[in-house]
Symmetry: C2
Subunit: 172 residues, 2 copies
Amino acid sequence: MDNIKIRKRKQVAKGETLLSHGDIATYAYRVESGCLKSYVIDNSGKEHILQFAPEGWLISDVDSFTNNKPTVIFIEAIENSEVSFIGQEDYRDFSRLDKDVLIEMSKKYRNNMIATHKRIIALLSATAEERYVEFTETYPTLVQRLPLKLIASYIGITPEYLSDLRRKIAKK
Amino acid sequence: MDNIKIRKRKQVAKGETLLSHGDIATYAYRVESGCLKSYVIDNSGKEHILQFAPEGWLISDVDSFTNNKPTVIFIEAIENSEVSFIGQEDYRDFSRLDKDVLIEMSKKYRNNMIATHKRIIALLSATAEERYVEFTETYPTLVQRLPLKLIASYIGITPEYLSDLRRKIAKK
DNA sequence: CTTAAAAATTAAGATACCTTAAGAAATGCA
DNA sequence: TGCATTTCTTAAGGTATCTTAATTTTTAAG
């Protein structure tokens, strides 16, 4: 799903939204520079981050993109970024794809699955503090780069509580 | 990853374990009858269910199976079951697979990804009560079939608290 | 530089969910 | 049918995490 053909590119300003709740994900995006996030908004209006996508990452709502149904998520630039577009057309019919492309794609799906499973394990079985430490170990560069409130949202806690945790950790 | 060739089958008694923390997942299992679960055990000894696998489902630790590394999960029969075995060998080298098999596999990975993403959204943004209701709507047959304590474990709460929630829901 | 905006901290009170423990109900096997 | 086992419920007290709100610190725009 990566290096297939020359694609349309676009500059996206920090704060700009590429996909909103209710839209159909006509595109997946490859981040060429900068960083995007995907998130949901819950019943009480709070935002929960699903994914960060720095350079080289893909971001979309796979369900919406694949099945052409309205999405429940948002995708937004958290830095000034450049993205390239991947259209649905190319992935409508798998049988038309080259075998190597299929293999590439399978591996990407599989890697995503593995990462997503890890996150579920963390959410089910680790404390907030453990999840924060795990995040800093898994994504050290993102920790430097992103505001803490976004990391708090990703690991499933409030920024205030993350602040408490950091103080507690520092005291050790 | 499904209907590829005749595979070895085995009866598994309720309570029997097919994969333990530290093992390498030499096999994936297809459940022919009965039901299995996969789970992790957290630092304080509590069990958290990752997946239920009734008839027709596959279950394994994809990371361990794919990358031949020790697993962190357990797989265990929760009913007397029959499973068939899928070996690592067949999936070591994607380029040797038929194109249709690859397509099948991609779709399975993709569907799993989509389902797993949904679960993350639920864990991040829904209350315990909302997650329980969503579970009953998504897996009505499993609700009939499984003890509540297993469902509680899957949605990330204690059985006692699920009991409270059910009483609260019934009162409405 | 200066200043407005965004991010991070701190603290106090609130709540969702957990722990423990005990009893009631349901299930399965002899 | 009866007993043992597992499951489910109930309740009281506890803890992790949240809410609100005010203050400080950092960042970025002019």
